[in-house]
Symmetry: C2
Amino acid sequence: MRFTRATVPTLKEKPAEADVASHELLLRAGMMRSVAAGVYSLLPLGRAALDRIEDIVRDEMNRAGALEVVLPILHPSEPWMASGRWQAYGPEMMRLKDRKGTDFCLGPTAEEIMTLTVGRTAPSYRDLPLNLYQIQTKFRDEIRPRFGLLRGREFRMKDAYSFHTSDEDRDRTYERMREAYEAVARRCSLETLVVEAPTGLIGGDVSHEFMVISDVGEDLLVYCTECGYGANAEMERHAPGRRFGSAGDEGLEEVHTPGMVSVEEVSDFIGTTPEAMLKCVLYVVSAEPLAVFVPGYREVSEPKLERALGTSDLHAMREDEREQFPGITVGFVGPVGLDGIPVLYDLEVKGAKGLVCGANRPDYHLKGVAEGRDFEAARLADVALAVQGDRCAECSGGLLLAPGIEIGQVFKLGTKYTEPLKAYFTDEDGVARPMVMGTYGIGTTRILATVVEQHRDEKGIRWPGAVAPMPVNLIVLSPENEEQSRAAAGLEEGLAAAGIEALVDERDASPGVKFNDADLVGLPVQVVIGKKLADGQVDIKLRHSGERADVPLGSAVQKVQEALDKVV
Amino acid sequence: MRFTRATVPTLKEKPAEADVASHELLLRAGMMRSVAAGVYSLLPLGRAALDRIEDIVRDEMNRAGALEVVLPILHPSEPWMASGRWQAYGPEMMRLKDRKGTDFCLGPTAEEIMTLTVGRTAPSYRDLPLNLYQIQTKFRDEIRPRFGLLRGREFRMKDAYSFHTSDEDRDRTYERMREAYEAVARRCSLETLVVEAPTGLIGGDVSHEFMVISDVGEDLLVYCTECGYGANAEMERHAPGRRFGSAGDEGLEEVHTPGMVSVEEVSDFIGTTPEAMLKCVLYVVSAEPLAVFVPGYREVSEPKLERALGTSDLHAMREDEREQFPGITVGFVGPVGLDGIPVLYDLEVKGAKGLVCGANRPDYHLKGVAEGRDFEAARLADVALAVQGDRCAECSGGLLLAPGIEIGQVFKLGTKYTEPLKAYFTDEDGVARPMVMGTYGIGTTRILATVVEQHRDEKGIRWPGAVAPMPVNLIVLSPENEEQSRAAAGLEEGLAAAGIEALVDERDASPGVKFNDADLVGLPVQVVIGKKLADGQVDIKLRHSGERADVPLGSAVQKVQEALDKVV
């Protein structure tokens, strides 16, 4: 493939729209172009890399016994109404009407349509389990599309749905799919953490996410370095990692703390640390106030609070709401003698002593406060977020916190969709019962961007072999030199005969331009045909390690094969 | 692949929604299910057949030097406004607004987005020609979605776009793509006619359609059995095929024809034939009346009339419009002494004599009318449709008319899109000029339905080898018989080792059910394991020809391979 015919419009400068490295590199390396916010065209090399990824996904799905189908992109509203998600999805769902005024959405996922499709085949217990997947374009009208393919509005995803006679049978497929997802990540050269995850709009009881740790990740992960435990921060469980309060039995003492409301101000003033502070965060829950107490060095986790209270109708109390609750001494709320407001304590407050907290009167705090003596933490829940240094609740190893990119998620669904959509199977007694489901999604365009995010240097992309759009960049330094041009043609042919495709850069451009583009585009193996050809030598360089060697032209094909074995 | 695991929900009865044979068979053979009017889910076997077709298309595109890309489905309105097609497409274009109120459509085709994408790469003459294609889902909100995948609202299409420095260069790619399309049709076992076609909403100067003759075709084709000439009826050219008028020099004579207005009534009454009649059809063109005269045995072709007049603002005069044009003796309009209405004659009227036509007074016709003597056919155009028996305008061979299914169309586009969208290239003098384009579409879901339409019998589908979802249906008549079950497992394994996938029907069902489903699903080779296994024999049957043979189990793999060589 000639560079000039391959439609690889590289860019020297960073495009203004690029907000993270993978976005910048995919644009600069001529792999894609923007069409609208969060909507992209993939050019030939970008398309080829996506194909490699989708082939890997397809291969692992087929190995896991899943069958490929194609569901439509246009989804009628009825099944979404039946599941309750037509409303629940809100403005993230892209909707339209056809010429007759009938409502449709552009599938953001396909639980409803797949359940409907399988339900209509009226399976018997002998036809189950079933596991069907598709690799299809999906649509979500993100409020802030960004990071290129990492959070687009039109994206490609492999989504699979399994149907079972029982939870136990579903669990077996769930495990098999989990292994398949780990294999996909491994083959795409992505290190992933599998973490416990919230089930969100998809629903079900249990879910795991496949996360790649990255600075541009939009999720926060908590994971153990010893036992492999990991969870989305919304779901994490931790044991206390630092001392909270103090060991001594101090007496209760009131301290004048004029105008001091933050944990740092008060602990500095008193001469202690946030580890001794009992922090109060005021919430409004279904129009009622709630005081939430957590250790001073922790934050309240709203997802945990939502789960503890069983409602998502809550938010931190705003300044303009304070006058609605006049009995509360904002900034100085403490548990001792607190009245007129419901209270919730983080688990760690139980039994703590030597604490500093608000005195429930302006400009005063209490020190030496002990739970059980000065107040009773009657209503307890796990509502605080982990911090670096916490211990694992599973093995007491050390917990780490890091941002992650979610590339996939799997769910144990139960009958959330099969009941309302009447997707029944006939059991051994001839009775119709709703099928038990699992659902499994992995984003192929997101994997593409994540691979670039994880495999790059300051010069450009460094494609792992299995995902590279092509294996070889063949650079001809002086294409007007007949010997070089002939050698390039011969080598391209020799590589092709060995099944190795090469991007042949025979442009009328300086060596610098060609070297820079080769590093930017990032194909795994570079072969340079230049002056050394006079001595029968070409130069082979590995993009990933920078390793290079002069080899005789005659053995170049073999050397390229050996080099590819190293990077694939 | 076990039948019970393959999700092939066959149906005994014809579903009410099925309106043509391919629609019925794809539903009954468990290959697809309907989701909404003109919107389908493809089940595993339907998906597999579509994959075979798309692999063939991809292979031929790559051979033709085209590069694969992925354009988005969501198209912003701006480029469609720039080309003028945002309006021109009308209600067939599916439109939606995003959460910010920005207009998008779901791409019905992608000239605008591809032109924009390539235009932004700012190519030089050295980067051209370029030929980019995608295989992508498309959307058209058909007023009457019908015939299953033949005219759906969501469908899959391969669309390619080529970019050139000149018309001559574009013509070379156009020819290459035309050959590629012929190869696709051939490999899919479809006999096609390549016919001259109107350019419609896509535009450009020249277009060809790839048509498969079929009773369910929605286009009318005119083609020559001798020279290969063919055209969509909207575009056809024909030489006169029958005598029009008479040879003799009769005198003009008025005949009383009370209440007779149709060609048949008048010609019967006078004792002549429609070949002697000069038929008048009244039109309203941009609010003005027009009398169009054609031979009595022909129809006016509205597409031809539109082209002749250079406007599409025309329709046959309705009864309720007659009073707007009081000077016209409707039913008795003739060219002799006609006043107060513009007139257009079909080419064939020139020089005709011995004609019968209206006398421009109620209940009277004229006979013995001669053009040139009694009236002058001053304004002539080709406005009549061919009939069976016309002669070819190219070679004077016989013309045939038949309905056809359009599976593909190619267009010479010129600069219709590159000018408004400013998709320029830099020529050898450094001057920016709009690129010259070609565009090429072929419907892959439509090919799928057409293959079924063309390859079937009363029992079901008869898949051609290259497009079959799988090659072999392995039928185990008594799966509870251990010997049969073991033989089936061994044969499935032996076939798999030879790269041949089999659908293994080991259901607890009667032989009749299995044979009927095998014929309905229509895989090319059936292997039956039944009682003859006691003598070491299995039965091999070719679905297409019905040919069958008993073969020893030990040589079954080899016999299946030989059978497949016959059908692929």
